[in-house]
């Protein structure tokens, strides 16, 4: 029996403890998992796990609570910002964030997101924009791009018929109560690092009591886009980012 050569190991990468140790239900190539991880890392880095209350919303990401081990309440379609308002007002000492998709936030819940932002509620909204309704089977979203085919605009979204895609990070940035609004993507390592910086800033905004923090993620939906995961990721760079430019649209703390 020969002895094994001794290898010195150094752990450089691990799963955040607040993320459950189980496979997600998301389709291959979907980026919800990556976004969950960024949120999880930031919660741990700021030491917020124990004082966080999450509001999970509708669609594929409702099961956020199966993966993120924090206190969570579920919201009806579009109402997460109103519900999160109730949570934060009831427990001002808690760290509160809501996780919403594009149909949820930009269509049925447009009033709730605009007014929570305008009131300057001390919340963080993680907004995942994949330009399509995911769980309901690929219908047109308010963020669907011109020419993009969905099950309810099979010939491609037409501006004259359906209007153009709503750019929420810019819209939200225009409201007085907003302390931070940014759009990020996770299609490349560089963008991923920027995305994490944005979530960190949005979290800081809440922790400093500055007001409303909003981070829009551009994300893939290979299943409903009828694409391979690789092609879907390429679409983010080729079509989505030009249509939804990345960047920080408001950072009130920096402007002071």
């Amino acid at each position: 029996m020969s002895s094994m050569p001794e290898i010195k190991e150094e752990l450089v990468f691990d799963r955040p403890g607040v993320l459950a140790d189980k496979p997600t239900h998301y389709c291959p190539g979907c980026q919800h998992g990556v976004i969950h991880r960024i949120v999880a890392e930031c919660l741990e880095e700021f030491g917020l796990v124990e004082k966080t209350i999450a509001v999970s919303s509708i669609g594929c990401s409702v099961f956020l609570y199966n993966y993120l081990m924090v206190d969570t309440v579920e919201a009806p379609h579009g109402r997460a910002p109103a519900e999160a308002t109730g949570v934060k007002r009831a427990r001002p000492e808690a760290f509160v964030f809501a996780y919403q998709g594009d149909g949820d936030l930009a269509s049925i819940g447009l009033a709730e997101i605009m007014h929570a932002a305008n009131r300057g509620e001390k919340l963080t909204i993680i907004f995942v924009n994949n330009t399509v309704y995911g769980m309901t089977g690929g219908q047109m979203a308010p963020t669907t791009m011109i020419g993009q085919k969905t099950t309810t605009c099979p010939a491609g979204r037409c501006a004259e018929r359906e209007g153009g895609p709503m750019r929420m990070a810019e819209i939200i940035a225009g409201l007085d109560g907003v302390a931070y609004s940014a759009r990020v993507a996770v299609n490349s390592i560089k963008n991923l690092a920027q995305a994490k910086r944005a979530v960190r800033r949005a979290f800081e905004t809440q922790l400093h009591g500055d007001g409303f923090g909003f981070v829009e993620f551009l994300a893939t939906c290979p299943t409903n886009w009828r694409m391979t995961p690789v092609a879907a990721n390429e679409r983010v760079a080729k079509e989505m980012i030009p249509g939804f430019p990345l960047g920080v649209y408001k950072d009130a703390a920096k402007e002071d």
């Binding site: 966080t52 609570y65 969570t72 109402r79 519900e83 308002t85 109730g86 009831a90 427990r91 709730e112």
Partner: protein, 353 residues
């Protein structure tokens, strides 16, 4: 009792009752005829160390209530008929997620925009669920300003006892009238209330989840079995005002403001020697079926009077079925009836006509 009487509107009594019950989060949206409540609480709630938010809509107000309720903080929203329709989504979710909260409906005329006059046209919506799915809310119906105060106070206790939304169904009459009210000693809410389910941030314990989505095979059935069991157990809370039914040949069944007006009519007819009495359900859900059934078994006839075109009468008939029926007299929504208006219908029903 903390003694000193105050002279206030029914709407204001609701606001006072909520504050005394430890309500510390209020969310609302203006709508007539209940605006006295948010107007008063906009200053009184922050003064009591609580939160007041004028929401962007009734939809948002009810969902803010849902969020605060999930945190185990005593919270309330108030509205009137069209606004309460918009709140039904959140109320269904609160029932599904078993969250306690108080929703006040100062009923006005409908359907649709209707008018701003009094009505009891939201009876069906209040007691049969209102939103989607199989659920019930406990429903309390005040007839006086004192009851507006007391029943609001007790609504919070019941909401927490059953972990369920509790609805107070008043109307434009009781909301706008002014009467002396004896306030209670303000409640010191137990900080441990809701301690086994409320969201606080997980701290050192396992994370908690409040939800109404149950996708696993059989899970939703399991949740609904628990909910139905709970709704059944609410029967212990049945409350009625019984006025001279013992020797009555005819029992008038009426709730809220109409119950009070009908009581005056019954009193007048008693003085004429007519053997009539009044049963006023104070809890509309749970409905006092067994009380009515006992009266039916004792051979009474029934007349249901409502400020609508026939809603509670269905429940009265179900309660007394096989033994008796109920006549019906409806006041059109928006109209304001006097006791005299009820004299003839009661006489006619007493004769068995």
């Amino acid at each position: 009792m903390s003694g000193k009487r105050i002279f206030i509107k029914g709407n204001e009594a609701i606001a006072h009752g909520a504050l005394a019950a430890g309500c510390r989060c209020y969310f609302g949206y203006p709508i007539t005829p209940q605006n006295d409540i948010p107007e008063m609480l906009s200053s009184a709630m922050p003064a009591a160390g609580g939160q007041f938010v004028q929401a962007e809509s009734e939809v948002a107000a009810a969902n803010m209530l849902l969020g605060a309720a999930a945190c185990g903080v005593r919270a309330m929203t108030t509205s009137s008929s069209p606004g309460v329709s918009l709140m039904q989504e959140a109320i269904s979710y609160m029932a599904g997620s078993e969250l306690p909260g108080v929703i006040v409906n100062m009923n006005r005329g409908g359907p649709g925009l209707g008018d701003i006059g009094p009505s009891q046209g939201d009876y069906f919506q209040s007691v049969k669920g209102g939103g989607h799915g199989d659920y019930r809310t406990m429903v309390l119906a005040p007839a006086t300003c004192q009851e507006c105060y007391d029943l609001t106070f007790e609504a919070f206790e019941l909401a927490y006892k059953y972990r369920n939304p509790v609805l107070l169904l008043g109307d434009a009459i009781v909301g706008q009238m002014k009467e002396p009210v004896v306030p209670r000693e303000p409640l010191a809410v137990d900080p441990e209330e809701g301690g086994d389910w409320k969201l606080t941030g997980r701290g050192q314990r396992a994370p908690r989840l409040l939800k109404s989505l149950f996708l696993e095979d059989g899970a939703l059935a399991g949740q609904n079995i628990l909910l139905q069991r709970k709704y059944e157990s609410m029967r212990d809370e049945v409350r009625v005002e019984d006025f001279e039914t013992k020797d009555a040949e005819l029992v008038v069944v009426a709730f809220g403001s109409i119950g009070r007006i009908a009581k005056s009519a019954v009193r007048t007819l008693r003085a004429e020697g007519l053997k009539v009495g009044l049963l006023r359900p104070i809890t509309l859900y749970p409905f006092p079926d067994s009380v009515l059934r006992e009266l039916a078994a004792a051979g009474k006839r029934f007349l249901t009077i409502e400020h609508n075109l026939g809603q509670m009468v269905d429940d009265v008939r179900l309660a007394v079925r096989g033994l008796a029926d109920s006549a019906f007299y409806g006041v059109f929504p928006g109209n304001l009836p006097t006791p005299d208006e009820f004299l003839e219908p009661i006489r006619a029903a007493a004769k068995g006509a």
